[in-house]
C-alpha cells in the first residue's frame, strides 16, 4: 500500500481539511457544502471504489434525507438529533430496497436500473407535492441553534465539520473491517467470493444500505445548511454530480472523495460566476479525466507520494552505500 493510503493518514488529512477550510474560504456556506458533499461522495466511493457498484441513484438518498429534515423540522418540530437519526434510518431502509432490486442485474443493467430508480423517486417527489412542496420545495428549514448563535454559517460549519470527521472516521473503519475487505473481494472477483461461501448479494445490499444511510444524513445536513429542501436535491443531476465528484476525486482511497467534492464545488463556484455555461467545461473535463487521469485527483497524490518515497529510499541507499 502506498504510504498516503494508510487509514491514519487518510483520517489526518480529513481533519486537516476540516480545520483548514475556514482559513481558505470566505463563505461558511460554501465550506459547509464542501464537507457535506465530501461525506456524500465518500459514501458513493464505498459503493464504486470498494464494492465496484456504479450507482446513479445516490441522489435518491440525498433527496430523501433533505425531505425528511424539511418535513420533520418545519411541520413536526422534531429535534435536530432526531431528524439526523431519522434521515439516516430512512436512507438505509430505502437504499436497502433499491439496492436489493438493482443488484439483481449486473454491470450495465445495474447502472441503468439505478438511474431509472432515481427518476422514479424524482417523479414521486414531484407528484406528491402536498408533502414535498413540488417544484418549490420545502421552505424555511431552520438551522440548529448551536451555542445560541442561530443561523450563523460558521457556527453551523463547526457542527458540520464535527459530523464530517466522525462519519469519515466511521467509513474508514468500515472499509478497514472484515466487512470492507469482503467488499473488495467481491469487487475483484464476485463468482470466486461467492464460491468461498460469502453471500455476495447480502454484502452488496448492506454496502448499499450503509451508503444510502450516510448519503441521507448528508442530505439532512444540506437542507439545514441552505434552509430549503429543494426538488433539485432528488433530481437525476444530483446523482450524476455525486458520481462525477467521486470519479474525479479518484476511487482508490476514501480521501479521494474529499478532494473530488472540494474540487468540483470550488470550481463550480468560481466558474459559474464567470460563465453560466460552465457545465460545458465540466463535460470536457470529464472526457479528459477518463482519457488521461483514470485514477482521478487522488491518483496524482499517490503518484507524487510514491515518487517522493522512492527518492527517499534511493537517497537512503546512496547514503548507506557511502558508509560502506
Amino acid at each position: 500500500m502506498n504510504v498516503v493510503d494508510r487509514p491514519l493518514i487518510q483520517f489526518g488529512l480529513a481533519v486537516a481539511v476540516a480545520l483548514a477550510l475556514p482559513f481558505c474560504l470566505s463563505s461558511g456556506i460554501l465550506a459547509s457544502e464542501v464537507l457535506i458533499f465530501a461525506i456524500v461522495v465518500a459514501a458513493c466511493n464505498l459503493l464504486l471504489g470498494y464494492t465496484g457498484l456504479l450507482s446513479f441513484g445516490q441522489g435518491i438518498f440525498f433527496g430523501l434525507g433533505t425531505y425528511f429534515a424539511g418535513v420533520g423540522l418545519t411541520r413536526y418540530g422534531l429535534a435536530v438529533p432526531v431528524v439526523l437519526v431519522g434521515a439516516t434510518v430512512i436512507g438505509a431502509v430505502v437504499a436497502a430496497a433499491v439496492g436489493w432490486l438493482s443488484i439483481r442485474r449486473q454491470g450495465v443493467y445495474f447502472v441503468m436500473l439505478t438511474l431509472a430508480f432515481s427518476q422514479l423517486f424524482y417523479f414521486l417527489a414531484y407528484t406528491f407535492s402536498d408533502l414535498t412542496g413540488g417544484d418549490n420545495g420545502i421552505l424555511d428549514v431552520p438551522r440548529p441553534n448551536i451555542g445560541g448563535v442561530l443561523n450563523d454559517p460558521w457556527a453551523y460549519y463547526i457542527f458540520v465539520a464535527v459530523c464530517f470527521v466522525v462519519v469519515f472516521g466511521l467509513l474508514l473503519v468500515v472499509t478497514q473491517s472484515t466487512f470492507g475487505r469482503t467488499l473488495l473481494a467481491i469487487r475483484e472477483n464476485e463468482p470466486r467470493a461467492a464460491a468461498i461461501g460469502f453471500p455476495t448479494k447480502v454484502f452488496k445490499t448492506q454496502a448499499f444500505a450503509i451508503s444510502g444511510a450516510v448519503t441521507a444524513f448528508g442530505g439532512a445536513l444540506h437542507a439545514m445548511l441552505i434552509g430549503v429542501a429543494p426538488l433539485s436535491n432528488i433530481e437525476y443531476h444530483t446523482s450524476e454530480q455525486i458520481l462525477i465528484m467521486t470519479i474525479i476525486g479518484g476511487t482508490s482511497s476514501l480521501f479521494g472523495s474529499v478532494l473530488g467534492a472540494g474540487f468540483f464545488l470550488l470550481m463550480a463556484d468560481a466558474l459559474s460566476t464567470i460563465w453560466p455555461r460552465w457545465l460545458l467545461l465540466l463535460g470536457l473535463a470529464l472526457i479528459v479525466v477518463a482519457l488521461f487521469m483514470q485514477r482521478g485527483l487522488w491518483g496524482l497524490v499517490e503518484k507524487a507520494s510514491a515518487a517522493l518515497t522512492s527518492r527517499k529510499a534511493a537517497d537512503k541507499d546512496a547514503r548507506e552505500g557511502g558508509h560502506v
Binding site: 432490486l101 454491470g107 431509472a116 450524476e240 457545465l279 472526457i287
Partner: protein
C-alpha cells in the same frame, strides 16, 4: 373515445421510445458500451429539425437531414473519442458519454437559447382525421404508420440481412469477426452512427408533437433505459413491446392522473424488475 385517443397517442409515443431503445440496445450489443449520450443525440435530432424548419426548410427535408447529421456526428465521435476507451471499465465509458451529453446540452443552449421552441406539423399533415365522432391529428397518425414501417425494416435489417448477421456475430465475438477478415473498427463506427441516428430520428419525429427544449435529452435517456430494462436488453421484440407499453401507460395515465403520468412508467418498471429481473422478453 378519450381512451382510444390516448391509446393511439400512447402507441405513437411508444414507437418513438422504441426507436430510442433499439438504438441503445444495438450499440450496447455490438460494442458492450453503454451510451449515456444517447439522449443527447435525440436532443440534437430535435433541435436540428427545429433549426432547419425555422430557416424555411420543408419538414420532409429537415427530418432526414437532421437524422443524417446526427448519425455523421456520432460516427465522428466514435472515431475520435470512443474507440480509445473501449478497453477501459464501464465507469469510464459512462464518464465520457456523460461528459459528451453535458457538452451537447450546453452547446444547444449556446446556439439556440435556454427557452426551447415549437415545430409546426409539416405541410399536408396539419389537419385532423375525422371518423364519426373520433377526431385525431394527421401528423400523429403519420408517425405511428411511419415508425411501424421503420420497425419492420429494422427487424428485417437485423434478422434477415447479411449486414444484420455481421452485427449480431460481432456482438457474440469481436475477435472472431476480425479473424474472418471483417474490419471491426469500421463496423463499430457504422453501428454507433446508426444507433445514434435512430435516436436523432426519434428526436426529429418528436419535435412537431412535443416541441424542443434543452433538457429533453436527459429524460429521453432515462426512458430509453426503462424501455430496455422492461423489454430485456438485446431483445428487439422486447424493445418494441416495452416501448409501446410505456407509451400507452404514460398516455392513459395523463387522463386518469395527470400529475402521476410519468411516475407510473417507473412504477411499472419497478414491478417488472421485482417480478422478472431479466425483463419481459430478456434472454436468460
Amino acid at each position: 373515445m378519450i381512451y382510444l385517443f390516448q391509446i393511439l397517442n400512447g402507441v405513437g409515443l411508444g414507437m418513438l421510445y422504441f426507436l430510442l431503445a433499439v438504438g441503445l440496445s444495438v450499440i450496447f450489443g455490438l460494442l458492450q458500451f453503454v451510451n449515456f449520450a444517447h439522449g443527447a443525440f435525440y436532443l440534437l435530432g430535435a433541435y436540428l429539425t427545429y433549426d432547419l424548419v425555422s430557416r424555411g426548410f420543408d419538414f420532409w427535408l429537415a427530418m432526414p437531414i437532421a437524422t443524417l447529421i446526427v448519425a455523421g456526428l456520432a460516427a465522428l465521435v466514435e472515431v475520435l473519442l470512443l474507440r480509445r476507451i473501449y478497453n477501459l471499465p464501464h465507469s469510464f465509458h459512462i464518464l465520457v458519454t456523460v461528459g459528451l451529453a453535458l457538452v451537447v446540452q450546453e452547446v444547444t443552449i449556446i446556439l439556440w437559447g435556454p427557452l426551447g421552441g415549437s415545430v409546426p406539423a409539416p405541410d399536408g399533415l396539419q389537419g385532423v382525421v375525422i371518423l364519426g365522432n373520433f377526431v385525431y391529428p394527421e401528423y400523429r397518425l403519420f408517425t405511428i404508420a411511419f415508425t411501424a414501417v421503420l420497425a419492420g425494416l429494422l427487424w428485417w435489417l437485423l434478422e434477415g440481412t447479411r449486414l444484420g448477421a455481421i452485427v449480431r456475430a460481432g456482438s457474440e465475438s469481436h475477435s472472431n469477426m476480425a479473424l474472418l477478415g471483417y474490419d471491426t473498427l469500421r463496423i463499430n463506427t457504422a453501428v454507433f452512427g446508426f444507433g445514434a441516428g435512430l435516436a436523432g430520428l426519434a428526436g426529429a419525429l418528436a419535435a412537431p408533437i412535443r416541441g424542443v427544449e434543452p433538457f429533453m435529452g436527459a429524460e429521453a435517456l432515462a426512458i430509453a433505459f426503462v424501455v430496455v430494462v422492461i423489454g430485456g436488453m438485446g431483445s428487439y421484440t422486447g424493445a418494441l413491446v416495452a416501448g409501446i407499453l410505456v407509451g400507452v401507460i404514460q398516455s392513459l395515465m395523463t387522463t386518469l392522473w395527470p400529475e402521476g403520468a410519468r411516475l407510473m412508467i417507473y412504477v411499472a418498471m419497478a414491478l417488472v424488475i421485482a417480478l422478472r429481473p431479466r425483463g419481459l422478453l430478456g434472454r436468460a
